[in-house]
Symmetry: C2
Subunit: 295 residues, 2 copies
């Protein structure tokens, strides 16, 4: 059974506020707009036949627009929902305000993890970050390689649910960081029609000794037509002495994208040398959304 | 009577989540950490004698750390709380997580507006953005010039309340955008001891035909000692044909700061040519906090 959690009600409240607005050129003075409201999300549970487990999903929907009851919204699907959902929802809420308005209001779908290694790896591998096989009996890598099942869950179960229960437009974005980044790129390479735009922040191309980079090399041939958008980025990972190949791998991916000149594939690569693997999402999700909704 | 609103209770809930963490180098793989929780805030009301009105205040406090019951936190005071409070609270919550940890956990105090023009202007002026006098009977500029009373409210009523009711450290930051930006700079110039660090995002130096820039020129003399930090920034305001002086004014302020070489005043100026007056806070608040807590 698919059910909705009633928590949303608890977050709805109103504060009486008086607004004073200075009537000078729009955009040059910050206005007082809605008072503080925490991001409210529906928390639903989808019993996935494909994954064989119930999946919790967070869904933020913009407040109803009484003047436009038929209004529909693009949808942003965010991996690692536990980490980034509420921050991205805050961005989108602010950036779609009528006095900011650099992107449309969106429905934000956060997908938290149950078994991250299983779901966010495109192939089975027992090789760890250092390229060494992990043969320990309790290795989490044992479960790896469920990425394609996970994409099937998103395409066949999650997206239809969201489209059925929310006022969605067809336009959809798929966003991920680290393992989430290789998941969105795997989707672009193998099932590009599932989304319209892809965000891959510091994708873990090291996975399975470069499996996804090899796949990109095979799939992104010059004769392909992919009318999609992709934003990818990395941080300072490559500058440390930890042997990280994040940066060099992403440069290889960028070279493939640039050299093949895929018809219709709009792309942007940003390197954030001042950010770490974990601070990068703050800037990169913002820049990615601005790229996708560039004016 | 000062009272606390009980809304916080409504936002508290728990989701049972199973976390799978891949044991590879810290910081190179996003971890599953706490599940989605919207920012919860106490909403208090302070009956201000100085302002002659009740003021709603939003306060986010980090969840209690049972292993360190005596733990105390720096405090970030944010003007235009209606606009930026929840976004900044999201930043700070994420950036202080144990797997990100580029700044300490903080108490965030959002100050929403009642009469923005009155409170966030350092002087009385009837001159509008275009330098023209607004003599209309309903002009909002009539009320302008309450900025110093407002600072007195913050210093004498708000900060003591927060220090009394929350586990605060002495370290305090004062952050504002636009009119909020001239308010934080006015505080630095006239009552620098009130805060340890100041953030002024696109301060409206145009106010009162350059009142604050003139004040800066007088107050920031070479023989002064101000052991404080200040971050200031602007966006593309100067590149448009609207006659905006945001950029040229901020360059003048930056020149004053640089030439006078005030002892102990750490400062950073960032220009965001790709951002607008209203999108700039997304990047600038982040960069400001990273500057203040640089490692």
């Amino acid at each position: 059974m698919i059910y909705r959690n009633g928590l949303k009600r608890h977050f709805r409240y109103n504060i009486v506020c008086i607004f004073f607005v200075l009537l000078i050129p729009t955009g040059l003075i910050a206005q007082s707009d809605p008072p503080f409201k925490p991001i409210s999300a529906d928390i639903i549970s989808i019993p996935s036949k494909i994954l064989g487990e119930d999946r919790k999903i967070y869904i933020y929907a913009p407040p109803a627009d009484t003047s436009m009851p038929g209004k529909r919204y693009p949808v942003l699907y965010v991996l690692d929902g536990d980490n980034h959902f509420s921050m991205i929802a805050e961005y989108c809420r602010y950036l779609s305000r009528k006095d900011v308005k650099v992107m449309p209001e969106m429905i934000i779908v956060g997908i938290p993890n149950t078994n991250r290694v299983r779901d966010l790896t495109p192939s089975h591998s027992i090789f760890d970050f250092y390229g060494k096989p992990d043969t320990s009996s309790n290795s989490r890598l044992k479960a790896s390689g469920g990425g394609n099942d996970f994409l099937q869950f998103i395409g066949s179960e999650l997206i239809p649910y969201v489209d059925q229960h929310y006022k969605t437009q067809a336009f959809k974005i798929f966003a991920g960081h680290s393992f989430g980044g290789i998941t969105t790129i795997n989707c672009l390479l193998t099932q590009p029609d599932m989304f319209d735009a892809y965000i891959a922040i510091s994708p873990s191309f090291w996975w399975d000794r470069g499996y996804l980079l090899n796949l990109a090399d095979k799939k992104l041939t010059s004769d392909r037509i992919i009318n999609k958008m992709i934003f990818y980025s990395d941080a300072d990972e490559g500058s440390s002495e930890d042997g990280s190949t994040f940066h060099t791998d992403l440069l290889k991916f960028d070279t493939i994208i640039n050299q093949r000149k895929i018809t219709g594939l709009a792309h942007k690569y940003v390197h954030y040398p001042e950010e770490t693997h974990m601070t990068e999402p703050i800037k990169a999700y913002y820049d990615a959304l601005r790229f996708i909704f560039r004016q």
